[in-house]
Subunit: 333 residues, 2 copies
């Protein structure tokens, strides 16, 4: 006797049975009554440990993130936990750090707990070399794997992505339209998301007939003061630039601090564009124009897709969500 029997007999989805079990208000009174009647009829008692004995599901999802103290990932965890909870699922959290070995260990640990699915939050989980991702593909034969803003092709792997490439391309296009010609790009990572942002930057320059110069592209630690110091160094080396685009707001905060340190006026003499539209974007004077990557929508969509998978629905393996450009005071547009 398990949740599947209830779902089948009541002719509703597993997610609906879950919602009834967990008192989620998102169920009509009629459906709730039918589900409760069927449970009564079948003598069903919810048992969170059932799956451990091979009887059903533990109603628990593993969430892996590289670092929950990163603001973007902290928000992602918050929204994922909230959405999963609304469907009656617990979340086991694993903060993995960034080494492949540790990520694999945590992944195996979650599998040994027999979680119903694993969500990989953030784009840091997909490695450049295909063989390093094989353990994820292998696992997907048994449980759904959900990627939040990461991409990996596979039969039971579902990706929800922000359109980072288009977001950066659009913002760069607006900088160019507002008169900027020498646009620095600072990035923190070569992840799937990082690579797409870089493509967006290159596309914009090419589309507008501007030269692609490698000395205008720099890797930087995801850290305010590292970004400030890198810009001071480039400035002192004589590099001329009239705009700074970044793959993260923390770097853009560093760019504001660089401008303050050198007396450059924002946005007249220097434009700055952040990324993620985090709370950092309003900490500076002037406040940052930034790209809102819709982390809440990404997380909601991820959980909805997962529930669709559990229900055996025909769900898309890849969902892309458009970002928003939030205009504040560090750009002329």
């Amino acid at each position: 006797m398990n949740i599947y029997d209830v779902s089948e007999k009541a002719k509703v989805s597993i997610a609906t049975v879950s919602r009834v079990l967990n008192g989620n208000p998102n169920v009509s009174e009629k459906t709730r009554t039918r589900v409760l009647e069927v449970m009564d009829e079948l003598g069903y008692t919810p048992n969170v440990f059932a799956r451990g004995l091979g009887l059903g599901t533990i109603q628990t999802i593993g969430i892996m993130c590289s670092d929950s103290s990163d603001p973007y990932l902290a928000h992602a965890i918050y929204f994922l936990e909230r959405e999963l909870r609304s469907y009656g699922y617990d979340s086991i959290l694993c903060c993995t750090g960034s080494s492949l070995e540790t990520k694999r260990q945590y992944f195996d640990l979650l599998r040994s707990k027999k979680v119903d699915a694993i969500i990989l939050a953030g784009s840091k989980f997909i490695e450049m070399k295909a063989k390093d991702n094989q353990y994820i593909i292998d696992a997907s034969a048994e449980i759904p794997i959900m990627l939040v803003n990461g991409y990996l092709k596979g039969d039971n792997i579902y990706c929800t992505l922000c359109d980072d490439r288009m977001a950066i391309q659009t913002a760069a296009g607006k900088l160019i339209a507002s008169g900027c010609r020498d646009i620095l790009y600072l990035y923190t990572s070569n992840s799937y998301s990082g690579t797409n942002k870089m493509k967006g930057y290159r596309d914009a320059l090419t589309t507008h007939g501007l030269p692609l110069r490698e000395e205008y592209i720099h890797n930087c630690r995801k850290d305010v003061l590292s970004a400030r110091d890198l810009l001071l160094e480039l400035h002192n080396s004589g590099l001329v630039f009239d705009a700074v685009m970044t793959s993260d707001d923390t770097l853009a905060v560093g760019a504001v601090k660089y401008a303050h340190a050198t007396g450059r006026s924002i946005p007249d003499d220097l434009s700055i564009v952040g990324y993620n539209n985090s709370i950092y974007a309003v900490c500076t004077d002037p406040e940052l124009t930034s790209i809102d990557t819709k982390v809440e929508a990404l997380c909601t969509s991820t959980v909805n897709t997962l529930m669709g998978v559990f229900n055996g629905g025909n769900v898309p393996s890849r969902t892309t969500i458009a970002a928003d450009l939030i205009k504040r005071a560090t750009t002329k547009f």
Copy 2:
């Protein structure tokens, strides 16, 4: 046959058996060998679902926080999960929001999962009225309850606290010694921690023979722009102040923005002190003097205490950790 039998026969703690089971390197080779031999001898197979059947423990701790996207709590969750993991414990995360009713629902949910303990992260879980905390005291008869920077008296309740009162008192004393006389205090909450910070502010003024004026104490939303706007309003109402102390860095960032908006010079004309020494403290120009509340030490201590409780050790019900004053550029000291 369970982990307790193994621990007893091998004459090591449960935590040590956990560490061996989870491949934690923090165990001597000799101990590891003994534990593995005993497991073999007793035919012990680790079973994460054992506790659900009344056989042992599910090696899972419930962590409740009001909002994991708050930077302080995000760090706390990161450190708690990491420490618990090092002892072989999973963490089930619940982001509860702030209403008492929701907090109670999540608390009951975690108890129904038969977690081994519940950690309440942050001081928002203890209510002003004693009767509103009775459900926590009732639960502590069955499982240990751990409070991170909150306080509640009870037999099986363990609190790890930052000495917020002394931290604010010390910082206010230094402001006074540096010549400030009209010190505003902005706070966000009347939690246990919030109340102690307020006491520290009042103590400092009294100790130095300065008047306690209620018009210098203001509640504010935990939000950069709310703090800026509140200060602009007080400024425009004619209130004279030469320093702003805050219960959170976000408010101090708002104070820097207020100073920029009004042309007041920091720290010559206005001193500002933040709280939590978060990444916000280095986002502003000038950077914030702030109080480091040692969130990592608090979390490590909480988990160590919990492991002591599981081992039946004589552990303190209350541990207090001193904060550090981090001097940057918004104060004259």
